[in-house]
Symmetry: C2
DNA sequence: AGGTGCAGTGCAACCAGTTGCATAGATACG
DNA sequence: CGTATCTATGCAACTGGTTGCACTGCACCT
């Protein structure tokens, strides 16, 4: 599974506590691989058992102690191993498709509103990603290494949200001719 | 969850056994919502307990008996209920993104090959979907109702695979300038 | 004669992820 | 002053899905 490896990547860039990782996920990797704090805590513990990471307790004033994790040698080895190993290409998996397929068995107008809602949500994400692109990667052609890879992942997010938004528009357009509105 | 409802949609179109549903999923809904026979059997039993479907045992010659499921009133009600209820828009979730983000921590060339593999796989799916479109929906503008909805779902698959393929190409292009090849 | 594959259902164990809740001090809002 | 939010970690229960295996009998290939 990839969460372990996503955490290894994130911790390789910078050490951090479970909580910090959860917040980092919320605002960057998490756009492309979401994870709750619960899942992260559990996986970190499992990874420590496996010797992939180690932690040191850090006392703080005015706030709870935290466990700062860093990648161990075994973790680095595991990450390179996994990077070289093939993984299965993902399948599209979106409930909206199921709803649309069943639209004629229910309230068509409700499905229409649902598609609109999804379009808006995906369009909003698209705008957010594009803002990140403008802010963090104004000159893509100058990038290389880690920065280039980060940029390319962001590009993936942009393309995905763009195409989803376009699809919703196509659906709405096509449904407009159907039934009363 | 959507598997129940995907099964309700499929069974509304035509009754069938768990096995048949698994095969139907393999070649149509499954392009957009994959499910193993195991999962399907389990869910069908749960659905029967809930009164959403009923089954009749059908004896066959030369092959095992089968349980043919059909949608009950409660199932139809549940489906319409679910169709009107909002669901959360999906997040992008692809391990390839994690790999790319960590590419500089491992063998860049292996990641490159991996991206190529995924590109080929997605391009193949794209071609398959486009073949279905050409065969089953030569004149989209004439469609309405269930057929239109099926077509639109297929369009979603085509757009998703197209944009993923394009993204892989962009990545490969960008990585070409990096490191030895 | 023997292996593969299809049709058909199913159990058991496991893995990944979600949800709800608990704790506890600090700070900020109204 | 009280409520909400942030930092920080965690347990317990549950849901959804995967993997490996088992059994039956027919058809097809070599």
């Amino acid at each position: 599974m990839a969460l372990e490896h996503a955490l290894l990547v994130s911790l390789s860039e910078r050490e951090g506590s479970g909580y910090e990782l959860a917040r980092r996920f919320d605002r960057s990797i998490g756009f492309f691989w979401a994870a709750t704090h619960q899942q992260i805590y559990r996986v970190l513990r499992r990874m420590e058992e496996a010797g992939w990471v180690t932690h040191t307790d850090v006392a703080q004033e005015g706030r709870p102690d935290k466990k700062v994790y860093r990648v161990a040698d075994a973790g680095r080895a595991e990450l390179t191993r996994w990077l070289a190993e093939p993984v299965e290409p993902t399948m599209l998996r979106d409930e909206l498709g199921v709803k649309l397929r069943g639209a004629s068995l229910g309230d068509l107008d409700a499905v229409r509103r649902e598609v609109e809602r999804h379009r808006d949500e995906h369009a909003a994400r698209l705008a957010a990603y594009q803002a990140i692109q403008r802010r963090d990667f104004p000159k893509p052609s100058t990038l290389s290494g880690r920065e280039l890879h980060q940029y390319l992942v962001l590009r993936g997010g942009i393309r995905a949200e763009q195409s989803f938004t376009d699809w919703c528009d196509e659906v709405l357009q096509a449904l407009r001719s159907e039934g009363p509105r």
